[in-house]
Symmetry: C2
Subunit: 179 residues, 2 copies
């Protein structure tokens, strides 16, 4: 909003950038709220919890250290801690102590959790396809990938969500596959 206040040296966005920023916000909210609503309605799983289940399902032994899991699901430690507590109540995740670092905790996906994920996945994937991939061309998919990768590069500047990649014992360092 140029000409709004005493701004002198502020580099405001160009009109084009403003339009793009607006389009970005509307697009993201539209897409995410649709996907979240479908998942919640049809499977009773908040999207943030779903992401945690997916990451665990891809990990060796279906378990991960809390810090590692927080980073993998782009979540703060606090948020993950609360979320895992809820998932534990549902019987979908269990906590295990780390043998080599007594501060450490592993979260492991239970069979019930895996079953819940398997039950929720088809309709969720279908929704993602309808809301995103059916609406853009293959070329745009590649463009989107490049853009989002560039945006994510460097990560969140100072948040405590950033953890050291090394953990308790030898891990696969984030080389899991699907989602």
């Amino acid at each position: 909003m140029p000409g709004m206040a005493a701004d002198s040296e502020v580099r405001w966005l160009t009109a084009e950038d403003q339009r793009t920023w607006r389009a970005f916000l509307v697009g993201v909210v539209t897409l995410l709220s649709t996907v979240e609503a479908q998942l919640q309605r049809d499977s009773g799983i908040p999207f943030g919890y779903y992401e945690i289940l997916v990451r665990l399902s891809e990990a060796p032994d279906r378990s991960m250290r809390m810090s590692q899991l927080a980073e993998a699901s782009t979540s703060s430690k606090s948020r993950l801690s609360h979320a895992v507590a809820r998932l534990e109540e549902r019987g979908w995740v269990e906590r295990l102590d780390c043998e080599t670092d007594r501060r450490g905790q592993f979260a492991r996906l239970t069979d019930a959790g895996f079953a819940a994920l398997a039950a929720a996945a088809p309709s969720h994937v279908e929704q993602v396809r309808r809301s995103l991939f059916d609406r853009i061309t293959p070329e745009q998919v590649r463009q989107l990938d490049a853009i989002m990768t560039a945006i994510a590069a460097g990560g969140v500047p100072d948040a405590e969500a950033i953890g050291c990649p090394l953990a308790c014992d030898g891990e696969t360092d984030g080389t899991a596959e699907a989602g």
Copy 2:
């Protein structure tokens, strides 16, 4: 996650689409959480509230019908109702009755609200620039605009956030400018 359960007819995402979807989620969370944190930290304004203030600041008489404002800020009516209540407590917004429709309410930005917005805008815009526009090329800006516009087309399928575009008296139908 192909091969996960009895899925038979489910059209899973391709490996490329999965990577893009993941990149999208990481990029969006990274960008939005950075922008939200900056705004909250430096100005004490939640991002959702900031958006409401911006929409109002662009509207004629700095006021809008609640439904219209909900749609403009891609918010549910419930969420907006709560948000405006908080903004009213801060003295940044006031409610006015609609003369021609006694169900109707207008939200109007107060001078204090406008001042708060003006104070918050520079550093916020700077953050958006650093987190988004400094990281992608001008060509990618155009690509992003096209992609996000395509994603947003059609809007949220069934949510109550979608309101009728017409309202109380003659409005500008969403032709406001900056952000």
